[in-house]
Structure formats: C-alpha cells, structure tokens
C-alpha cells in the first residue's frame, strides 16, 4: 500500500504533505506535553518495532499470506499521537532507505496509513472496547476489528487519491499523467486486496498481540484503555477533535470533484447565465427572459478575490479548487481561533489547547 | 571529610517488588567498591540511584553533601556538572550505544553538555585513541563485537573524564581477553582520585577491581568488608547465592563443596 513516486500528481502530493505535517505537528506537541523528553527513545524504538511487524509474512485463512501495518497495536499502546509519529518514522525509513514508497508521496503515505490509520484504529478500538475490563475478550475483538477498519480506511483514502488522478491530471489527448484508473476502477481494485488480505493480516496481529499482552504485560494496554490505575475513566475529547480535522481535510481533498458536475448550480447564475437559462426553459411566463434590474445593478457590487474558485494565477482548475478549499478552511480557522482566544481572554482565563 | 556519596535507609520499590531495602552506606572520594550479589539482588538499581536516574521510594541520598532529589536534577546548574562528574556504564551495551556511529556515540555526552566544538573534537579523538577505537570510528553499533561495544560504552563516558565511575557488570558476557582488558583498565585507576563502584557477580575479578566489597542479597546489605574477608566467608557467599555446592569430580574423586565456576577455570 506504500504509494511510489509517480502515481500522484505534485499538487496532490503537496496537499497531502500539508495534511501530514499538520498531523505530525499536533502529535509532537501533544506528546511533548505528556512525555516530555521521553518521546525520542519511546517513539524511535516503537517505530523500529512497527517496522519489524510490517515484515511479518502472516498466514491468512484461505491459504494466502499478507502483511500487517502494526498501526493498530501502536495506537492501542501509545495512543493516536504516538502511533502517528512512530508509523510516520517507520514509513520514512522505508521510503528513504528501502525504496518502499516514494519521497514525493511520503506525505500521502503518512497521511493515509499513519494518520488516518491511527485515528480510525484508535477510535474504533475505544468505541468497541468501551467499559470492558483490561483482560476481557472484548478488547481482543475490538483490536481485531479496529485493525481491519483502519487498514481498509487507509486503503480507501489511497484509492480515492488514485481515482481522482486521471480526471484531474491528463494531457490534451486525454492520457492520464499519473495513476491511470478512475474512481470506479481504483476503488474496487484497491479495496479487494485490503478487504481480504491486508485487513485480515492487521486484524490477526492486532487481536493476537492484545491477547498476548493481556496475559504477559497488561500494563502496556492500560494507557489507552480508558481505565486509569485507580479505576477512573479517562477523557476522550481529543480524538474526536482530531477526527474532525481529518474529516475537514478529506472534504478539502474531495472538492475538485465539483468540476465533474456540468453547468452551474441552480440559482447561482451570473446575469448572462440567467438569461441563457430562462430563455431555454419552456415557460408560459416570458417576462423572465430579461434580468431583473435590481439583480443587474447589484451583480457588480462585489467581485470575489477568487472568482470561479480559481485564483487568476493558477492555471489548473482542480488545483485552484484545492487551493480555494485550503484558503477557505484556513480563513475559517483563523477567525474561529481568534474568536476563541478573544473570548477566553475576555473571560480572564488562559485558553488551554 | 564529607563522603562523596551517602545513603540513609534507601528503599526502592517498583511494580510491587522491593528492589532495595534500607540500604545505608558511605562512599568516600577515591574508594574502589565492588557490589556483589546474584542477579536480582538490587545491584543495578543501586547504581542507577547513585546516578540520579531513579529516585528512592524512601530514604535519602546525598552527593557531596547535597541531597540528590529529582527537583535538584531539574536544575541545569546542578545537573550539567553532575552528569559530567558521575558516569554510569550500563550492563547491556546496546542500551548505551544509541547513536549511529562510534564517533557520534563518544561525542554525544560532550555535545549535550555544551562543550565547544574544538574542545569536543580533540577530546573525542583522544578518547578514541586511548580505547583503541580509532579504526572503528565510523562503524555503526550493530557491526561491533561484544568486546568492542563494551569499549565504546566505556569510551562514551571516559570522554568526560568523570570523577565517579559506576560500572554495571563490566566484564559480563565478554571473552577472556576483553575481560582482562577491562580489568586492566580499572586497575589503572587505582590510586587516582577516581571513585569506582562496580557491580558484578563474577567473584574472580573482585580482588583486582576493589578495596571493599559490599554483598547484596534480595535488596539488603549483607556485609561490607575487604575482598579477602568476603571471599573466604563460604557461608556468606552461599547464602547470597554467589557460589554453589554440588557433587563434582576431581582426578576421579567425587566430592561436594562450595566453589565457583568461571568461563574456563574451576577454582576451589
């Protein structure tokens, strides 16, 4: 599932790098607060461990073999931030040193497997195992299901990334410039392999490891179990916040799909488009063939900085869409962050992250 | 004279196990002390407490008259000089060799302690030469033999020229030649102002590396005396699980008495 260089266009890679960097940055901040300087040896050794797990050629039902990712057990033992970093480092070494996965696509690979994978694994594990005792069988099942879901979520995102390439990036004659298969081929092709092999491999190793740890070293399961040493349930607000981020990022990535829709959305016409539309609609009321005077006057009142969602200097429509999406989200973020800190300051308290 | 280290009733528990029980002792500057005990007797824990890496669960530890606490070690003005003066060589060299190459390993400590580049480079070269590691300077740790790893581990602390050397099993798992090299090195420091505290379960080197022996059993101090006294106390050694008695034969005669085995010798 490690995407090599050349499968994704530079703009796709760029956007996913930005997404990955956001994930890395917030993970490091969170970990440093909790673990301080212990982060370095803990994440490094765990990354080495994930690397080794990725090398296991696991026998699967049906007589085949598959490779696991190790992202689920990382999320269960270290929590999502630790898992994001550990997996990213393992992926980085695989890309750089072993040529497994590209350099331009490292951001994409980390986004799909390390970030989305960790979050889905963690969220599903917590949801399914909620309230169960540290050594209960439900945790084993939760780990296995979480692993299955995480790998397939990562595969789905990758499939979408592949699938939008031919539509957005092709030359004049219609030759796809990067991954050549559209969504309707890319998604089933990717998912079949992961729903059957990789997903099961991850489920097997995650469930198996949790079962082993329950007997041999259950302390390692405690950190994310929601059961603190004295029995109190832990907080679970942070994962949902990050999940929100991920959803936003995904929707941003999907914005260029809008180009697929032909024509202009109903009611969003410019004056010229309006005359055209109403003129072609057979209607008893022919008075609507001219544009209302008020509409005409006000239509030039405000010229958007990015008309048609593409800044003038950007030639590619799809990249323009992506840029606009990022810009829009960024603006919203800044405004809401500013509002939040203003509100907190006026309350006289320091805002905590 | 203030003792360099003073422990008063130090206890250490973790995970429900008591690793150290009411250990009290004084170590003076220039002492050469051997901590002997079977595996699990608390030797490593004691060394780590002396190096400020673990805090005692109960009791107090004093270094050069100051009480060593976690808070004190948070302060740069104490911690940096302390880390230079006191050095610990871990039992497992893989733990201590976490840098990409031998050179980086030896340079790590001076770098973290803020030495200037020139000072650092010259001192690292000096240390590499002293430990005969110059040819291995660019080797990654996984390509080193056990003896070489131990020498690098030693070099990585000797580069600081520390006052106190805490050695955890310095000769364990080494071939005889590497073992004798390490013992020679420790003997070189005899009479210098260096304080050397070695933890070992290998009784045959104790006389060479120490003037005083502390026997630990199940986290408690069983005895403290010069080496000859300890080594001749059969009962004590048996109790501390440092020697064993079983039936064996010499020259065709079968008998049984306390003795210790070493790699190649069998002594009575």
């Amino acid at each position: 599932m490690h995407i090599p260089d050349g499968y994704l266009s530079p703009s796709t890679c760029g956007v996913l790098y930005v997404g990955a960097m956001a994930g890395w940055y917030s993970s490091i901040k969170r970990l440093k607060r909790v673990l301080l300087s212990r982060v370095i040896p803990l994440i490094s050794v765990f990354a080495a461990f994930s690397f080794v797990v990725m090398m296991f050629n696991l026998p699967l039902p049906g007589g085949t073999t598959g490779h696991a990712l190790g992202v689920t057990i990382a999320a269960i033992v270290l929590g999502p931030s630790g898992a994001i970093l550990a997996l990213s480092i393992a992926l980085g070494i695989q890309a750089l040193f072993f040529g497994d996965g590209g350099i331009t696509t490292l951001g994409a690979n980390c986004f799909n497997m390390a970030i989305v994978g960790s979050l889905v694994a963690f969220a599903s594990y917590r949801m399914i195992a909620a309230g169960a005792g540290l050594t209960s069988r439900r945790r084993v099942v939760a780990a296995a299901v979480a692993g299955y879901l995480a790998v397939n979520a990562a595969a789905l995102i990758a499939a979408v990334e592949f699938g939008i390439q031919p539509m957005l990036f092709h030359d004049a004659s219609g030759t796809p410039l990067y991954a050549p298969y559209p969504l309707r081929i890319a998604i089933p092709a990717m998912m079949i392999g992961h729903l059957t092999f990789a997903g099961l491999a991850e489920a097997a190793i995650s469930g198996g490891l949790v079962a082993y740890l329950q007997v041999a070293d259950s302390g390692l399961l405690r950190a994310t179990s929601g059961v603190a040493a004295d029995g109190d349930l832990g907080r679970s607000t942070a994962p949902s916040l990050r999940r929100l981020w991920i959803m936003i990022a995904i929707f941003m990535l999907l914005t260029p799909l809008g180009i697929l829709a032909a024509g202009t959305a109903w009611g969003e016409w410019s004056p010229a488009q309006m005359t055209q539309t109403t003129a072609s609609a057979p209607s008893a009321n022919s008075a609507a063939s001219t544009v209302p005077a008020g509409l005409q006057r006000l239509s030039n009142f405000w010229t958007a900085p990015f008309p048609a969602y593409a800044p003038a200097f950007v030639k590619s429509r799809s990249f323009g869409y992506l840029l606009s999406a990022m810009f829009g989200v960024g603006l919203l973020l800044i405004v809401s962050l500013a509002a939040r800190s203003w509100a907190a300051k006026s309350r006289g308290k320091e805002s905590s992250a | 004279m203030t003792p360099l280290f003073e422990l008063r009733d130090v206890c250490f528990d973790y995970d429900g196990i008591t690793a150290l029980r009411e250990v009290s002792l004084q170590i003076m500057r220039g002492d050469r002390l051997a901590l002997v005990g079977a595996n699990g007797s608390g030797k490593s824990t004691l060394l780590r407490i002396l190096d400020g890496l673990c805090s005692p669960s109960r009791g107090s530890l004093y270094f050069d008259g100051q009480q060593l606490t976690a808070e004190l070690l948070q302060r740069d003005d104490f911690a940096l000089p302390f880390r230079r003066r006191v050095a610990l060589v871990f039992q497992n060299p893989d733990v201590q060799l976490f840098n990409p190459t031998v050179f980086d390993e030896v340079a790590f400590a001076p770098l973290q302690l803020g030495w200037s580049k020139e000072q650092l480079l010259s001192r690292v070269e000096q240390t590499l030469e002293y430990m005969r590691l110059t040819a291995l300077r660019d080797r990654p740790p996984y390509r080193l033999s056990g003896g070489e790893k131990k020498r690098v581990a030693l070099a990585s602390v000797l580069v600081l020229d520390p006052e106190v050397l805490l050695l955890d099993e310095p000769t364990a798992a080494l071939d005889p030649r590497s073992q004798s090299q390490i013992v020679d090195l420790i003997q070189e420091w005899k009479g210098s102002s260096k304080t050397v505290i070695s933890a070992t379960h290998q009784l045959e080197i104790v006389e060479d590396i120490a003037d005083r022996v502390l026997v630990l059993e199940a986290g408690q101090v069983e005895a403290m005396a010069p080496p000859q006294e300890i080594l001749s106390n059969r009962e004590l050694l048996l109790r501390a699980n440092l020697v064993h008695a079983h039936r064996h034969s010499h020259n065709g005669v079968v008998h049984s008495h306390p003795h210790l085995h070493s790699h190649s010798k069998h002594e009575h």
Binding site: F46, G99, G208 | D94, L97
Partner: protein, 269 residues
C-alpha cells in the same frame, strides 16, 4: 506453508541486513556521487525526483532515467545491482498495475490483442507511469547506496528538517537491526523446535507471541535508552554535530542538479 511463514519472514530480515551492508560498501567507494557533499546529494537527487514527478513528457522522464544510469555507473554502482534491486522489482509491481491501463484507457486504438483493444493513450500512460517510478526509485536508491545513513540524516538536518525527527530516525534505524536480530533469533529457536508442519492458527500464534515479546522488550529497551541518554546529559533538547564545508566542486554539482531538474520540468510541461 508452516515453514514458509517463519522462513519468508526471516528472509525478509536478511534482505534488510544485506541492503544495509551493500549501502555501506558502496558508500566507501570513490565515485561521482560519493565525491559530493551529502547535502548536495540529498538536495540534488530530491530535486531530480521532483522533476520526474513534474514532467509530463515521456521523453523527458526517459532522459532523466538515462542521467541516473550515467550517475550510477560513475559512482561505482553496477547496472546489475540496479536491475536486481530496483528495475525488476518495480517492473513486477508497477508493471502489473499498469498493464490493464493499456486496454482500459479510452482513446485512439492502435492495436488489438485477442479481443482487447490497446489505445495509444493507454500505451502512453502505462509507459509514463512505469518510467516515472523506475527513475524515481533509481534516484533514491542511488542516494542511499552512495551515502551512509548517518550522513543522509545529517544532510536532512542541514536542510532544516526538525532535529527531533532526525534523531528519532537515527535511533529507529539503529534499533531496527537489533530488533530484527532479536526476532530472527526467536524464529530460529522456534524453527529448531518445530517438528512437521504448523497449522495456520499456530503460525499466527507464533507470530503474535514473537511480536508480543518483541513489544515488551522494545518498551523496556526504550526505558533503558532514555536513562542512558539522561545519564550522559540529555535534557530534552538534543544537540547534533555538523561539520561539513561546501567546496567549489559541491557548488558545481548542486547547480548541475538544479539546472538538469529545471530543464526537465520546463521541457516536460
């Protein structure tokens, strides 16, 4: 099948180790790439990978591949090594993926193969994909073969990557081989105690148990390493050493890389 799990995994371990060995040997040779400052190597080869991704023309990517081959030969990397370690593997993986594109891409038909029609667009896109991947992997492999890992990381540091990331990558790499060896030993001892064929569930249990033991050991190791770091003065803000000087030759090299990359992008747009 039973032995295949333990065997194939240990084979994978062995491959990782041989790759590291090969990299160290080649890095010591005296060739073109080895003569350049590691930072120039990293920047230059990354710039070329970017150029590969940015070019839209087949002929430009092919030219970049040719350039990589020339650099390889001048850096004492044999074509055989490249073929074995890069080209055949990429062909096996990306080649298989690109094959259906010959038939599935809509466009102008140029040939027919037993009922299936190959379009020129299909040919073009498959060729472009395969060539791109081959070239990019060749370039990254060259970088790693000609540069000791420690230098790669230091070069990345000099290029302003955050030092925590660099230190973590260095430590991960270092302990990778230790864990691989530990896992290998566990597998070896298991194999020597295995009589006959293990059922798949048993194999999975062996895998889980090995991973579990490895996990516990990893944790203990990370705790001990942390103590070892603290003992030598690490207080959270890790310091790294850098001691490279750029010579005239390095500047020439860097400019050549950037020129070639820019030319490729411009001609391939």
């Amino acid at each position: 099948m039973s032995r295949s799990f333990l065997e194939s995994t240990t084979l994978g371990f062995g491959r990782a180790l041989t790759r590291a060995m090969l990299s160290e040997e080649t890095a010591r040779e005296r060739g073109l790439l080895q003569s350049l400052d590691p930072r120039v190597r990293v920047l230059g080869l990354f710039a070329l990978v970017l150029a590969v991704t940015l070019s839209h023309k087949l002929v430009v990517v092919a030219a970049l591949l040719a350039m990589s081959v020339v650099m390889a030969v001048l850096s004492r990397v044999t074509l055989f090594t490249l073929a074995k370690r890069v080209w055949l593997i990429v062909l096996g993986f990306t080649g298989v993926i690109a094959l259906p594109a010959l038939f599935l891409t809509p466009g102008r038909p140029v040939a027919a193969l037993g009922g299936l029609v190959i379009t020129s667009q299909g040919l073009h896109t498959a060729a472009l994909l395969i060539l791109r991947v081959e070239t990019a992997v060749t370039l990254t492999t060259l970088l790693v073969l000609c540069t000791p890992w420690a230098h790669v990381l230091k070069a990345l540091r000099a290029l302003r990557l955050p030092k925590e990331a660099i230190v973590m990558m260095a430590m991960t790499y270092r302990y990778l081989f230790l864990l691989v060896e530990t896992a290998n030993q566990m597998f070896e001892s298991r194999r020597s105690r295995t009589v006959g064929v293990l059922r798949p569930e048993e194999q999975r249990r062996v895998a889980a148990r090995t991973a579990g033991v490895l996990l516990s050991k990893s944790f203990a190791l990370s705790n001990d390493v942390y103590m070892a770091m603290q003992s030598r003065g690490f207080r959270g803000d890790v310091q790294v050493l850098s001691h490279w000087r750029l010579t005239m030759w390095d500047w020439v090299g860097l400019l050549s890389f950037l020129f070639a990359g820019s030319l490729a992008v411009w001609m391939g747009r």
